[in-house]
């Protein structure tokens, strides 16, 4: 599967969070690296997986089903939502 950037799913993230999230900084629970969601590596399959640009650990998984979105962000120790 080929990777995209977190920026490529800006529309999905904005739908989920109500605002642009691509510049939002987060910290990887695996390696502690800080990055912006726009820099994550994104793999799309049945769900959308965001991986840490430093260690490739899973930061976030987004599942979309019939207009309902589920988000698992256990791979992030913190995420700065801009407001």
């Amino acid at each position: 599967m080929t990777a995209l950037d977190g920026n490529a799913i800006a529309g999905m993230l904005q739908t989920a969070f109500g605002q642009d999230m691509t510049a939002a900084p987060g910290t990887c629970a695996g390696c502690g690296a800080a990055s912006r969601l726009g820099q994550a590596r994104v793999y799309r399959g049945a769900g959308t997986v965001l991986r840490c640009p430093n260690c490739e650990g899973v930061l976030m998984v987004i599942i979309e089903n019939g207009g309902v979105m589920g988000i698992d962000a256990q791979g992030l120790t913190d995420l700065h939502v801009p407001w």
Partner: protein, 251 residues
């Protein structure tokens, strides 16, 4: 008040096709009139959604090719022969047709008028699209930020925006290098190979100039370029990438 504006939901809108320009044999620029467009920044994209008669939907992202100050929203789409969405956009759409879109989205891969150093833009194939928006913006605000663009395509027939780029290259601030990786124009004495370390060292700002770097194109192209850039000493935090997807050959 500001908060209310921020929280406005991202909704699907309908745009009407008002202009179609053929860029290459496989590529068209489609201009849309979008009634409630709230403006964009160079480098952002839109999501386009197609709905079949049976309700099946397919969604893809396309960079915005027009400048923030342009009256219409333009996208430039390259047809992939086995693609689901791009052949429809390139071959089937007609003037007056409507298209569903949402955006602008993506606040990360944008350039407005960075005070932070010169700009280095690296495009592979259709990866030139967001740079057209940034460069148009650069021209319209008379920015003095110096820009170097390195644009890699397979053949002269694959160049997008040829005349516009040539015109932009006549300005003092914008310097454009092309590489034709498969077939070169007659008499060409410029680059004729895939981007490599030497090419980036010759035609791009050195790390010492502390440029802001944007790389865009098919995923494999972007990854190669980003690795080369880090290899010659560019600060990874100053490199922004936009991978378009795809597997296979580099432009």
């Amino acid at each position: 008040m500001a908060r209310a504006a921020l929280l406005r939901r991202l909704t699907w809108q309908t745009g009407t096709i008002v202009k179609i320009v053929t860029e290459t044999a496989r590529t068209r620029t489609i201009a849309l009139q979008v009634p409630e467009w709230r403006g964009h920044r160079g480098g952002q994209h839109v999501d386009i959604r197609l709905t079949a008669d049976d309700g099946y939907q397919a969604q893809r992202s396309y960079s915005i090719a027009s400048a923030p100050s342009d009256a219409q929203v333009e996208i430039t789409v390259e047809r992939l022969h086995d693609g689901e969405v791009s052949p429809y956009l390139v071959d089937q759409l007609r003037l007056g047709d409507e298209l569903e879109l949402r955006g602008p989205v993506g606040g990360y891969f944008v350039w407005q008028d960075s005070p932070g150093g010169p700009l280095l833009l690296i495009a592979g194939g259709s990866g030139i699209v967001p740079f057209r928006s940034m460069l148009r913006h650069h021209r319209s605000i008379h920015s003095t930020v110096p820009v170097q663009l390195l644009y890699s395509v397979r053949t002269p027939e694959d160049l997008f925006y040829r005349e516009e780029l040539m015109r932009m290259a006549t300005s003092d601030e914008i310097d454009i290098s092309l590489t034709f990786t498969r077939t070169q124009p007659p008499g060409w004495n410029g680059y004729d190979r895939r981007i490599d370390r030497e090419m980036l060292v010759e035609s791009g700002w050195s790390p010492g100039a502390d440029p802001l770097v944007y790389v865009c194109g098919p995923t494999a192209f972007v990854e190669t370029a980003a690795e080369l850039l880090v290899g010659i000493g560019h600060d990874p935090r100053r490199i922004r990438t936009e991978r378009f997807g795809g597997i296979g050959e580099n432009p």
